[in-house]
């Protein structure tokens, strides 16, 4: 672990931004105790574990309904993709596109980007420079939380529409999707961008 950054005489702590000469024994920040450099094996396996959990959770999130509308006793179940298609057919193109991006494009892109970054730590694949990979990681961290939007919209509609005849209930897919987003966020955080290496 020490050999990886012995060439850096001065390091900046991610948490408290203190520029310091790293203590090679503890690898921790002198001020706030945060890890100055991630333990590669541990960070990578933690990140893989979270990522695989998130990908597994994404399957029931799409199979089970995320929203259940009951009109006069008739139940209508809506999955994520089904809801997008319905919105599109109804003519709400902008909302359908937003939800498509937030709930389908962004999560799948996040999975692919994290897989790419994780594999590239261990095996040299791709020709992307360190800066490009950092940009990818930063984009993932930025866009990640926005996938929670779908869960919030479901919660809002369910809280709002509770009348005698018509009511909206959340579905199991909402829980699964929330779990998937949560674990993707954990995976991105556990990954630690300092593991990214440039092209050899």
């Amino acid at each position: 672990m020490e050999t990886l950054w012995q060439c850096d005489p001065i390091v900046r702590c991610e948490v408290c931004s203190l520029a310091q000469e790293p203590n090679l024994k503890t690898c921790r920040c002198a001020r706030c105790g945060a890890l100055l450099h991630p333990n590669p094996k541990r960070a990578v396996s933690k990140s893989w574990a979270y990522l695989i959990t998130a990908m597994i959770a994404y399957i029931p999130a799409n199979i089970y309904p995320i929203l259940i509308t009951s009109r006069f006793g008739r139940y209508e179940e809506n999955t994520i993709i089904g809801g997008i298609i319905t919105l599109w057919e109804q003519g709400s193109y902008p909302i359908a596109t937003i939800i498509f991006f937030a709930s389908v494009v962004i999560p799948i892109l996040k999975f692919l980007i994290l897989i790419y970054l994780l594999v590239s730590v261990q095996y040299p694949i791709g020709k992307d420079s360190k800066v490009k990979k950092h940009t990818l990681y930063y984009a993932t961290e930025l866009a990640g939380p926005w996938s929670m939007m779908d869960v919030f919209v479901v919660a809002i509609l369910a809280a709002l529409i509770h009348f005698g005849n018509v009511s909206v209930l959340p579905g199991v897919g909402a829980s699964a999707f929330a779990l998937s987003v949560f674990f993707t966020l954990l995976a991105a955080h556990a990954f630690d961008k300092r593991l990214i290496k440039g092209v050899q």
Partner: protein, 215 residues
Amino acid sequence: MDDKNGITSSDVVMCPKCSTPHRNIPLDHGQHARCSTCSKVLYRCDKNAMDKIIAYAVAGLILFVVANSFALIRIDVIGQSGFLTLPGTILSLVQNGFYLVAFATFFLIMFFPAWVLMLYATVGILMKRSKGSFWVQRMLVTLSKIQKWDMLDIFFISILVALVKLFGYAQVHLGASLWALGAVVAIELYLSKAYPPHQLWHWYERIYSGNTVAM
């Protein structure tokens, strides 16, 4: 790097983006230091910064209480009406049996946003009085860690998306709390951009290391 008054501080400031080291120099009021390589702002000098932070954070907390107290939106459908409040969203999830999502949502849209504002306010007050260096350090570490779990802005946009979804179906009335919530989101965005953790750490070093020239 040295220890003055028990505070670890450094003569060197490294750019968060490109890691170029710079000397940590004192500035005059209104000046700011930029990275020599990528021009990102490294730190600023603002003698009134703590006042501003306290003002914004306390305003945010008051507005957050308002946002939680009244209805965000009201809808009328076929003579029946419903309304949405922030705690009501969580309660309805609990009533429907979605304990996990309710638990997570409570933290994401109520607990962490309030905690972030309270941390900003407390850090502002302590640093203004130049007291409590140990607590300020602990609070800044906490702030760095929980800021990413504050999803109030995403929730606000979600309300707008839900409104558009309801547009054709129901009469929608916007409640006072919605504007208050928008103001809280704006304040949190401003605090995170104008007074990010690395800037607060810089002021922490200046204030508590016994320099006669603070900030």
